[in-house]
């Protein structure tokens, strides 16, 4: 119970004190009509605070990009409203919203130079020429692209195009910056660099970032808060730690990180696993008592050879998979359920873990059991 209370404190440290930037109220979006109609968003409500790095995370087709396009103004919501700083902007065209977008494939203007691309938004706002030139140089410095100002966008690399797209969208200093999977076209190393870069830019500019991705690791690394989406709905909103450690339902747990799902019985805040052992567990709202499904992350499980003592579960080691920094064991429990355990590797790892086919004793870290809503 203690761990839950701690968790709850970690989850929303300053929620009440933050001012709301974006409010989405019961937004619904349907494309097409009649039989071919497709509902991309069903009744989505969401609040995004000012100065927040907010991520929409979900598999492709979950509606996250549609939600972003609704905020940008490229599509009107079929139902519901979108509020920016308390003002309803649902029907405003994109050029009247103080919101800028970094597109998935950057959408840089191919007939303009890097500098002209960045200046475009400022020119459209009718800023004086001298001020535009100054801001463009500032932006180039911010994304470390000063020497490429007069290049054509076709003459620079993907990572550089990415930076130009960012600078172009940041130049008019929007209230909200929308990023539509901006890192997906980059290779792994560049992606890692840009993750840190984006976080730095968000800190330096103080602009609210709404970031769309299907990459759970990206979402966990960069975000203040994450909304996990599936099939046009928001399943859970919370801090990365909240989402990872206290997923409210099976989909969220499965989508983020590796998971063990076990059958259990719940009475109050205590669950008893079908495989044996009783644990204090975090319980989301609205879960009835009795038979439930629980989540245990593989890295929260300890394994040693030999017979179980009190608080440990008996198991048999089925496979041992070595993967560099960790070793994963597949354990067969007495109920027939398979449990994955991931153990950080040490130089003497062979001595520490039981071999395939041996009996093992499984221990579960306190606070590692989470009840799922299913």
């Amino acid at each position: 119970m203690l761990s839950i209370a701690l968790g709850a404190e970690v989850i929303f440290p300053t929620k009440e004190t933050r001012t709301q930037m974006i409010q989405i109220e019961n937004a619904k979006k349907t494309f097409g009509q009649g039989d071919s109609a497709f509902t991309a968003l069903r009744d989505v409500s969401l609040e995004i605070a000012a100065n927040e790095f907010f991520t929409l995370l979900g598999p492709s087709g979950c509606g996250k990009t549609t939600l972003l396009r609704l905020i940008a103004g490229f599509e009107p919501p079929t139902e519901g409203a979108i509020l920016l700083s308390g003002r309803d902007i649902s029907r405003l065209p994109p050029n009247q919203r103080p919101v800028n977008t970094v597109f998935q494939n950057y959408a840089l203007f191919p007939h303009m130079t890097v500098g002209q691309n960045i200046a475009f938004g400022l020119e459209m706002l009718g800023n004086p020429k001298a001020e535009i030139a100054k801001t463009v140089n500032e932006m180039l410095r911010l994304v470390r692209m000063e020497e490429l100002k007069d290049r054509r966008t076709s003459e620079i690399s993907g990572g550089q195009q990415q930076r130009v797209a960012l600078a172009r969208a940041l130049a008019p200093h929007p209230q909200v910056l929308l990023l539509d999977e901006p890192l997906s076209a980059l290779d792994l190393k560049l992606r890692k660099e840009m993750q840190i870069e984006l976080k730095r830019l968000q800190n330096e500019t103080g602009i609210t970032f709404v970031f769309v991705t299907h990459d759970q690791e990206e979402a966990l690394t960069m975000s203040d808060r994450v909304a996990v989406m599936n099939a046009g709905r928001i399943l859970q909103v919370g801090s990365p730690r909240d989402i990872y450690e206290r997923p409210s339902e099976r989909f969220v747990a499965n989508f983020i990180g590796e998971s063990n799902f076990l059958d259990a019985a719940r009475i109050g805040g205590d669950v008893t696993l079908a495989a044996g052992g009783s644990f204090a567990a975090a319980v989301p709202e609205g879960v009835p008592e009795g038979k439930v499904s629980v989540l245990i992350r593989p890295e929260h499980i300890g394994v040693r050879g030999g017979q179980p003592e009190a608080g440990e579960l008996p198991a048999r080691v089925e496979t041992v998979v070595y993967s560099g920094d960790t070793t994963t064991l597949h354990l067969r429990l007495a109920t027939g359920e398979v449990l994955k355990a991931r153990i950080a590797n040490a130089p003497d790892i062979d001595a520490a873990v039981p071999a395939e086919g041996q009996d093992a004793a499984v221990s579960i870290a306190p606070g590692a059991v989470t009840v799922l809503r299913d």
């Binding site: 490229f74 050029n95 959408a107 203007f109 007939h111 475009f120 938004g121 706002l125 076709s154 008019p172």
Partner: protein, 314 residues
């Protein structure tokens, strides 16, 4: 196996590649031979004949006499008085040049006005319907040009459909004289050459990345500004190609001005035909043809210049 390797001829480094390149070149010439024959026989040859004829003396009943003369070239711009041999500007020719040029420019402009929105409309249709609209655009090509031009005549002649309808609903009391005017020629040419504008502009709009338009709107550009600053520069190659495709044949149009312009409103093509026919002045006709070709070349060079600068820029 060892035998095969020992009997293989030995090559110096690079020799194999050189051999392969030479064979490649031989093949290339062989393969392009049919095309070369056609170009020499159908384009270069006749062109040479025209150049030679333009410097000869007209025969009495057409054809040419093999005597050198510059009269053909002089006759394109000036004419000799029958009585005292004084030279003066050939007003008839100059007005025909001017009519050709202005009608071609007007035709190009009108096809732009009608063609760009049409191309835009087709390119933004769902893929299944695009094919249908493109098909409709190409339908006129299936019919002979003369037949299409006579159909236009049916529309605009004094007893034609347009005049009949306007008379019936009482907008006019007398039929409007449209046949045998510059309007008729311009109208006909716009109709005939419209597909040549629509197709290249369609190709350009179809290639246009509409996310760029979204990006422009996102960066505070209204509809008109987004069109002017982003769409127009990106579809410009298509617009230029279409303009050339319309302007060049307009300049040398023959059938349309002949049928719709009557005997009075000649264009360049009709003037040339006249020299080879009733005028019996082949050298003048040849010189006029070469002039027309020069005009076409100038506009093509302009096109190449503009597009290559575009490419150098981006």
């Amino acid at each position: 196996m060892s035998e095969a390797t020992t009997h293989r001829p030995t090559y110096r480094p690079g020799e194999l590649e050189a051999e392969a390149n030479a064979a490649d070149n031989r093949n290339r010439w062989l393969l392009s031979l049919p095309a070369l024959v056609i170009i020499v026989c159908a384009a270069a040859g006749p062109l040479l004949v025209m150049v030679v004829y333009s410097f000869l003396t007209p025969g009495d009943y057409g054809n040419v006499k093999w005597e050198f003369s510059l009269e053909g070239w002089i006759g394109t711009l000036v004419q000799r008085d029958i009585f005292d041999d004084t030279l003066m500007w050939a007003d008839a020719h100059l007005s025909i040049f001017w009519r050709s040029l202005s009608l071609s420019l007007i035709t190009t402009f009108l096809t732009l006005i009608f063609g760009v929105p049409t191309a835009w409309f087709i390119a933004t249709q769902p893929p299944s319907r695009k094919q249908f609209w493109l098909f409709l655009v190409t339908v006129p090509f299936w019919t002979n040009l003369l037949v299409r031009t006579i159909a236009i005549q049916e529309l605009i002649r004094s007893e034609g459909v347009i005049n009949l309808v306007l008379l019936k609903i009482g907008v006019i009391t007398e039929p409007i004289q449209m046949m045998f005017t510059d309007f008729a020629i311009g109208f006909g040419m716009t109709y005939v050459y419209l597909p040549l504008m629509v197709l290249p502009v369609y190709a350009a709009v179809d290639k246009l990345d509409f996310r760029l338009v979204e990006a422009a709107h996102d960066l505070y550009a209204g509809r008109w500004t987004a069109f002017r600053r982003v769409i127009l520069p990106l579809i410009k190659p298509g617009i230029i190609a279409g303009s050339i495709l319309v302007f060049v044949p307009s300049l040398g149009a023959y059938v349309t001005p002949r049928v719709l312009g009557g005997g009075k409103n000649l264009m360049f093509g009709n003037l040339i035909e006249l020299q080879f026919g009733a005028g019996r002045n082949w050298p003048l006709g040849a010189a006029l043809s070469l002039m027309l070709m020069a005009a076409v070349m100038v506009s093509l060079i302009f096109y190449v210049r503009v597009t290559s600068r575009e490419q150098a820029d981006g």
